[in-house]
Amino acid sequence: MRPESVTWERAAEVREAAQGWRRVEAIDAPTEQAIREAYPDPCITPSAVWRVLTAGMVTAVFLCTFGALLLAFRTDQLGLQVLMLLFAGASLVATEVLEVSPQSARRGAAGATAFWGILFLLVGFSLFLLDTVRVRYDDAIDAVLIASLLAWAVGSWRWGSPLFAALSAISFFLFLGRFPYGRVLWGLIGAVLAGLAARWLDEASWAPSHRRGAAILVVAGILAAYAVVNTYSFDARVLEDLGRSAAARVAPSPSLFVFAALATAVVPLVVLMWGVRSRRTFVLDTGVVLLALSLVTLRHYVHLAPLWVILTLSGAALVVLALAVERALRRAPGGEIAGITADPLFADERQQRALQIVPVVAAFTAPAAAPEEKGFAGGGGRFGGGGAEEKF
């Protein structure tokens, strides 16, 4: 990242923190103003709505221009590759230009041009390998995955996008999966990546967006390591299917299945403990997701009870657990246990609750009544509104 961009980002972090303090009235308006003056941020930072709208329109302009030129020149395969690479180059130059100016750096346009630039670069490169150089399909996949790993990583480093860091990590693990011992590599490198990236999470010399990228890599490493040991992944040979088509498949031994079953249970607990001990909520959240995946895996292999019993009991257990944790924290001295509290602190809880409307409505709204079902005669209706769309 450019030094100026890093400075702007650091100031934005402090101003955002001050905004949170002001939200809960921990500071007054003059104090917030004093902080804003002490940490000037020349960048215009529109709200998420404006950024998404701008990025969407930039995408429309980009793709329509590409479509127009493609149809105007009616290019052959080589022409298509050249056009894609030209568009990629133009987009990346545009990103650099937009990133330089505080007026345009955070409007959403730079993110869109960077994304499409790198994507077109990779697609153009793929077409070049397959249609022009005519390399073997498997070799082309390997080369494109390496290119993808590098391109997204460089993009993430240059423009500070955590999304690009995630795409780079995905490319990296897909590439590792191509090797004969891909599963072993996923486990080893996943654990190493999570450990190494965790060391940079609080690194003061790194830009805030690079630290966020490191957090993405921690999650990617944990997920990769879990995918290695998950029993279903072993059984269904999920990672082995990523390998080269000619790669030999070796059946895992029964003792490995026992190890996988144990690890499926243990890894989420280890991640949860790490999250609690380090008080990093994103690690804690990852642990919760892994625990849910492990329970689903358990249910897949061991039918402890009918599905409705499992769903109802696990739902009730989650509600009880959440309430118990909340009550314990609230009743603890100072409202905290080991530095963990149920208070919202400086987060914008109103906004969080507003954002929750969309998933709730999407999950629980009854399906629309279809006019042709008017001739209902008992047994043809729908049981809805409770998150279910079961037909009788």
């Binding site: 972090e13 709208l53 127009a68 599905l307 109802t312």
Partner: protein
């Protein structure tokens, strides 16, 4: 730890911008020595309610013959009643203003209770066919109960459910996933969506004007605009003959939305208007070239996109967002 904020707090304390007590608390949070898990607790509660209602639905589906309709209907009603009794005991007194939740579980117990009620009503309707051929009317009952619950216990989430359930009663699906207004005659659906959308937008305006749950405005208005503009866009893209009329209606409605939202400082409404206009105008650009393969409409669409970008930049510069 957020090292940028940690170092800033030290400097702000040194310069007496922050007091000692303030700086100590902020520093603890910035160094992650005090962390909130409120979001995680909320997420667990949401997942719990989702699993519970899914389990109940599956139970009813698989065992309705074994358990018997009265036992099922009675059991679900009892569970719903238990939730609602708890709600009534815990809830703060009614107010036309914004009422904070008494605790973190309140919203989710309310959600669970009302979902169980809705499920019970649907089950009773399916089993006993009380409404006969007019069975979709049970959605009207559910929608109205949701609406009452939303106002009584001040829940924007339940209000959102109420509005989508009432739309479902009219056969309209507010689903971004399926990308259509619902099943059935497109003309009727569009008409229903336009009427409902206009009603919701009017409700948003009245909420603010009369100061009756003014904070519900965003939910009413967003649901209303989504319905209204989706119906108009659907008319433009889906009609064969009179798409021009739909386009004119869309331009007028979306123009009005953009103008009003600009004055009110509502960026989300403005964005919905902009996207609707752009998508609607694409038909105008592509229609003359329907039977020719040419790059010209794409070029025009790109130019239109550039124009819209300029409009977005200008609007953002001048809009005073609220």
């Amino acid at each position: 730890m957020n090292p940028d904020v940690v170092s800033a707090i030290a400097l702000l304390r040194r310069d007496n911008v922050l007091g000692n007590a303030q700086a100590t608390l902020f520093d603890r949070v910035a160094r992650r020595r005090l962390v909130s898990v409120r979001f995680e607790i909320r997420a667990l509660l949401y997942a719990g309610v989702l699993l519970l209602t899914s389990g109940v639905a599956l139970l009813v589906k698989e065992h309705r013959q074994d358990i018997g309709p009265w036992a099922i209907a009675g059991g679900i009603a009892l569970a719903a009643a238990a939730c609602l009794v708890w709600m009534i005991r815990k809830a703060a007194p009614f107010s036309w203003g914004e009422v904070p939740s008494p605790n973190v579980a309140f919203d989710y117990v309310l959600l669970l209770g009302l979902l169980l009620f809705a499920s019970d009503l649907a089950y009773v309707e399916v089993e006993f066919a009380l409404l006969g051929p007019r069975w979709p009317h049970h959605l009207l009952v559910v929608g109205v109960v949701y609406l009452l619950g939303a106002y009584l216990w001040d829940s924007r989430t339940i209000l959102g459910l109420a509005l989508t359930t009432l739309a479902a009663w009219r056969g309209v699906s507010i689903s971004l996933i399926h990308g259509s207004l619902g099943a059935g005659d497109a003309g009727n659906l569009r008409a229903s969506a336009v009427v409902l959308g206009a009603l919701y937008v009017a409700a948003a305006a009245l909420s603010v004007r009369l100061q009756r749950k003014a904070h519900f405005e965003e939910v009413f208005a967003n649901a209303g605009l989504l319905l209204l503009l989706s119906a108009l866009v659907s008319g433009v893209l889906g009609s064969e003959l009179n798409w021009g009329v739909w386009l004119a209606a869309l331009l007028v409605a979306a123009g009005l939305v953009m103008w009003l939202s600009f004055r009110l400082g509502r960026s989300l409404y403005f964005a919905q208007g902009v996207v609707a206009v752009y998508v609607g105008l694409l038909r105008l650009l592509f229609e003359p070239f329907r039977y020719h393969v040419t790059g010209l409409p794409f070029f025009l669409a790109a130019l239109l996109g550039l124009g819209v970008l300029v409009l977005i930049l200008a609007a953002h510069r001048r809009m005073r967002e609220r």
